[in-house]
């Protein structure tokens, strides 16, 4: 593990750093050009996942870790998607009750 970590040339970190800079600029440009609707959301998510992926894979060395650790890191957070789904329904419902039973 530490042998393989020491073998990486410094250059790879500079390249990823540059790439993250470019991706951040792209996400900023999404706002700059005021893209709206599904195009805006999909682009934001795309750049977000790319940035998160590169930070984890290269900077945090997950790419060079064993599968046991990858599963430890990526499987548990999947249950959060269940919560997100439930809270979307709940949010919509509360919005509907507020609209229906209150003036505002």
């Amino acid at each position: 593990m530490s042998e393989s970590t020491a073998e990486h040339p410094i250059g790879i970190y500079l390249k990823i750093w540059l790439l993250l800079f470019v991706l951040s600029t792209f996400s900023y440009l999404v706002d700059w050009f005021q893209l709206q609707g599904y195009l805006r959301w999909s682009l934001i998510l795309l750049f977000m996942f790319l940035k998160a992926g590169y930070i984890m894979a290269i900077f945090m060395h997950v790419q060079w870790e064993r599968l046991a650790l990858k599963w430890l890191l990526f499987a548990p957070p999947l249950v959060i998607l269940v919560l997100v789904g439930m809270m979307t329904l709940e949010g919509d419902y509360i919005f509907w009750t507020r609209q229906t039973f209150f003036d505002r």
């Binding site: 940035k51 945090m60 599968l67 650790l69």
Partner: protein, 227 residues
Amino acid sequence: MTTESNSNEAYTEPGVAGMVADWSADKQAFDMPWGKLMMWIFLLSDTFIFSMFLTSYMKVRIAATDPWPNTSEVFAMEVAGVHLPLLLIAIMTFILITSSGTMAMAVNYGYRGDKRKTVLFIALTALFGALFVGLQAFEWTKLIVEEGIRPWGNPLGAAQFGSTFFMITGFHGMHVTAGVIYLLWVARRVHSGYYDDKGFEIVEITGLYWHFVDLVWVFIFAFFYLW
């Protein structure tokens, strides 16, 4: 233990078969020093904390009947008479990414045994982190004093904006502040030669925490500032 597990042939089988072997054989399941594994598990729990915050933000934003304040305009700045939307947040993002880059280099120099450069790059990372917290303090001041945004309401729209904003960015800023202190502490110990015999795994462990803070900001930037 560290050196043993590194030279251990028991962790060479790749893929799913390797994972099964790691879990079922008479050895530790994860091929790493315990400190690193504990950091990963801590970060996993922290992932859940930030996910809870972002999910609750999503829920109150869906349920809000008042219009949500336009973050693009709330965080805009005037530079030399030019109106630039979201400028401060973009600068903060670039600073944090840069600090992540210098941290990755510090870890690399640590494993190469270049102590001087390791200390230098950790200190540089801490400096960028402190700069980030400084800009965040500036941002909060601007929002509280000039825009009149409070946790219980604001003049721009939905009352939930303030509470979620202060909660999420405050908790993240607290992580950055703690990280700066952690970094300076590790830098001092590397400099004093405390890890000369123990090995420089600590730099990687500290780095994991720091990259995680950057990672969380990527999600906050996307969901809170850009959405």
